[in-house]
């Protein structure tokens, strides 16, 4: 067995990476059933595909969490809620 103790794994960080992996897998499955990435021009005037929208959602969410941490600190339920709403908004309108 390979020793991975140097990577200092924790359950929460592992769950985070599993979530990212699941997002990418879901995108692959989605693409399989609806190929082409459904490109469109959204409210920001950007040409985005599904993958772009996922990227914008994840990057934006990261900054929502950072801003909340910087201004208010933990717990992070509120930024989680904001990020989910933001993610849906990006997939719907951007």
């Amino acid at each position: 067995m390979i020793d991975l103790s140097w990577m200092a794994w924790t359950w929460p960080t592992a769950a985070f990476f599993v979530f990212i992996f699941l997002c990418l897998s879901a995108m692959a499955v989605w693409e399989r059933y609806d190929p082409g990435g459904s490109p469109r021009r959204g409210v920001l005037g950007l040409d985005t595909t599904r993958g772009d929208r996922l990227f914008i959602s994840l990057l934006g969410s990261a900054f929502i969490f950072l801003a909340y941490l910087g201004f208010f600190g933990t717990p992070l339920w509120i930024p989680l809620g904001i990020s989910i709403v933001y993610g849906f908004a990006v997939f719907k309108w951007v």
């Binding site: 103790s5 200092a8 924790t10 990057l59 941490l69 933990t74 992070l76």
Partner: protein, 287 residues
């Protein structure tokens, strides 16, 4: 041309996926893991949650080095981009001098970063350096090891010396790609030099200039070696940019948790700005 779908093509992608996993993904995952823990070495870790992120985001030290970084990147972009365009415009387009100019321009880019830092360190020393002695000889009090203004101007000057060539070469490539017909048309219309620049050369250089700005932004935002060798981040902390500060925290103080949190914040900022530039570039191309 019709493309033939072939799932075997994925096999050819596997080597690069493995390579990226080893040199980027696994280290990045480790940094994420470190950012939520405390360690005193020996592979023993203690869970700290979001503490390091809060600490970094609220620390004066991070804010200051971030502002210094923005100021530095802003300054070098404001100087290097117009200067690079001006030099490219002044360079000959035909004849034997073209090769000479291109080689001269490429020279600074070939010098390793730590050598550039060491070179400028010696060059700018106030007592024995050619530049330092000369400036002091003109009656200007200059000592980059003690005065923040001198340290900043030397660091900016060093970066301009090292990297303006990149902007020059990219702009020159953009200028060389403009067909002669455009210039002939401008001549027939009686356009002056400014009009030619504004309505022919600049729009045609837009794409290469976007690449130049993006490259110079990312490079200067992550600059480490040159200012570290030149000033070591001093005097005091006046030239401590983000990456120098990060290395001080990670290796100087061995605070791996805060350093990991800072790395991730730093990474996200670079990712965001690069994405904005990339989007603007793509948009520009469409237009």
């Amino acid at each position: 041309m019709n493309k033939t779908p072939n799932p075997k093509a994925w096999l050819f992608v596997i080597p690069v996926v493995v390579l990226v996993a080893f040199n980027a993904l696994i280290p990045l995952m480790t940094v994420v893991n470190y950012s939520v823990q405390e360690t005193f070495g020996d592979n023993v870790f203690f869970w700290e949650g979001m503490k390091w992120f809060e600490e970094v985001l609220r620390s004066e030290r991070f804010h200051e080095s971030f502002l210094r970084q923005i100021a530095f990147t802003g300054m070098i972009l404001v100087i290097e981009i117009p200067l690079g365009i001006a030099i490219a415009l002044a360079m000959p387009r035909k004849g034997p001098w073209v090769s000479v100019c291109l080689v001269l321009m490429a020279l600074p880019l070939l010098i390793p970063w730590n050598v550039v830092g060491a070179m400028w360190n010696i060059f700018a020393l106030p007592d024995i350096g050619l530049l330092g002695r000369m400036i002091n000889g003109l009656g200007i009090d200059y000592n980059f090891t003690q005065q923040p203004v001198s340290a900043w101007s030397t660091t900016v000057l060093m970066d301009v010396w090292h990297w303006t060539s990149l902007v020059v070469l990219l702009s020159y490539a953009g200028l060389s790609a403009i067909p002669d017909a455009y210039y002939q048309a401008a001549k027939i219309d009686g356009a002056n030099a400014w009009a030619v620049f504004r309505f022919i050369q600049l729009p045609k250089m837009k794409r290469v200039l976007t690449i130049a700005i993006l490259l110079r932004f990312m490079d200067s935002f992550m600059i480490y070696t040159e200012p570290f060798v030149l000033t070591g981040g001093g005097p005091g902390n006046t030239t401590t940019f983000l990456s120098i500060d990060l290395v001080k925290i990670a290796l100087g103080q061995f605070d791996l948790g805060p350093a990991a949190a800072m790395s991730l914040i730093y990474f996200l900022i670079v990712l965001l700005v690069s994405w904005i530039f990339y989007t603007l570039m793509m948009r520009g191309e469409e237009n």
